[in-house]
Amino acid sequence: GELITLQNNGNKVQLTVSTGEVQLFLDDKKDLPLHQNFYYYTGFTGDNRQFFNRSSGAYIFRPKQKTPITIAPKPVSEVYKGPVVEEIHQVFSDWMSQVIRVYKEENHVELEWLVGPIPVEDNEGKEVISKFSIELETNGTFYTDSNGRELLERKRNFRSTWEVNISEPVSANYYPVTSRILIRDTTKNVEVAVLTDRAQGGSSLGDGEIELMLHRRLIHDDAFGVEEALNETAFGKGLVARGKHYVIGGTIPPVGASPSLAALERDLAQRKLLSPWTFLSPADDFTFKQWA
């Protein structure tokens, strides 16, 4: 039951030592924990003879399950605290790990995920996701951005210009996420946004949920033209992908309040997507005094 707490401007991350469970409180005034974990879908295997029998592949995401499989419910965690940043290093399996970062002077929580090499020895292609869940009533609605510009409203199992009959409820609700995906509860007046460091696929398959596709390794071609399975290797092993999610959220302020959540999200997106360039130069040949 012991809790370890990491904290910065308005955010709190709590680790329960006995269970390894991590809760993110994006508004430390509200008792609304955000949970996060990693899951995978196994890719459908078909004979590719007709459309409904195509395998999940490079072009199409076609999972076998409606509910993804948990990689590890209880990760092994280590906590590092210092004057600049506080971190929880989580290990979910020998191919899935994460660092949760709380920088002292920031107003978001950073999650750096690392996936791979995804094991396929069981002859199952796997599509790994990170899923966030919070107790919010979002009425089947979520928002994704369009090429980093305006946010577009997405409704689960709905198309705005025709009556849709959804036969594949997971993939049919996946949308491109260029830089952010967010959910809102207008009754509780709370918003949660996840910013990505690259374009990813994402959805909200249940109220209060956000999921983002991180990495895929599939062992069958989907017969859309590549004629190769999406099964990339480097150094003789499956690829490893490493990236970041930035989680920001809390109470939606009244109109005119400054800074609004949208403004904070936009500022964060600018700082991360147009991040300053870092260059290093060796300095063994001159002293600090000469350099200064």
């Binding site: 999406l230 360039w277 130069s281 063994d284 600090f288």
Partner: protein, 184 residues
């Protein structure tokens, strides 16, 4: 301008979605990676020239001209690997802000040593921290690095379209990292 052509050509090819989504043959994906790498390396010539011009402008009134500085963009920082910070005890971190307003940024540099100090040009100590690189990162196939930790510090108020530099020294002084608590 000639030094930009490789990147221009690579970016021209990259306009097709197949280039980035995995919906291309593997040999094509690897060829794109090769083209991009060549393009970025050639662009380094331009960034180096531009920065040295900026540095020289700042020294116009000095009697001694600023020496030419070699800037490495450390393209393997995504796997916490950087030749400069691993091989040099002392190194300079230069951060350029491409935005038109000031920003602050946390810098993470992979390092092999146990203690480091960071100074700004005014000889002021910058608060820094060493954090171990997770084992899962150390074990990434193809990562050839002696770095076991990351040095973290905050670059405060980077000027719009401008830069700040920091001098990092490997020292024997006890660092804040050793004061950090580690709990499992």
């Amino acid at each position: 301008k000639v030094d930009l052509n490789s990147m221009r050509e690579a970016m021209g090819v990259m306009q097709h979605h197949d280039a980035i989504t995995g919906t291309e043959k593997q040999v094509v994906a690897e060829d794109y990676a090769r083209m991009l790498h060549l393009g970025i390396v050639e662009c380094d010539i331009i960034t180096n020239t531009a920065f040295n011009k900026l540095f020289t402008n700042n020294h116009l009134e000095d009697t001694n001209p600023a020496p030419q500085v070699n800037l490495d963009s450390c393209m393997l920082l995504n796997i916490s690997q950087c030749e400069v910070s691993e091989k040099s005890s002392n190194f300079v971190v230069t951060v350029y802000n491409p935005l038109s307003h000031p920003v602050s940024l946390y810098i993470r540099v992979p390092v092999p040593g146990q203690t480091y100090s960071v100074k700004d040009p005014n000889n002021k100590d910058v608060v820094s921290q060493l954090i171990p690189i997770p084992t899962s990162v150390l074990n990434i196939p193809g990562r050839f690095s002696s770095a076991t930790s990351e040095l973290v510090f905050r670059a405060v108020s980077l000027p719009p379209l401008g830069y700040r530099s920091y001098y990092v020294t490997g020292s024997k002084k006890k660092s804040t990292a050793q004061e950090s608590t580690t709990e499992e």
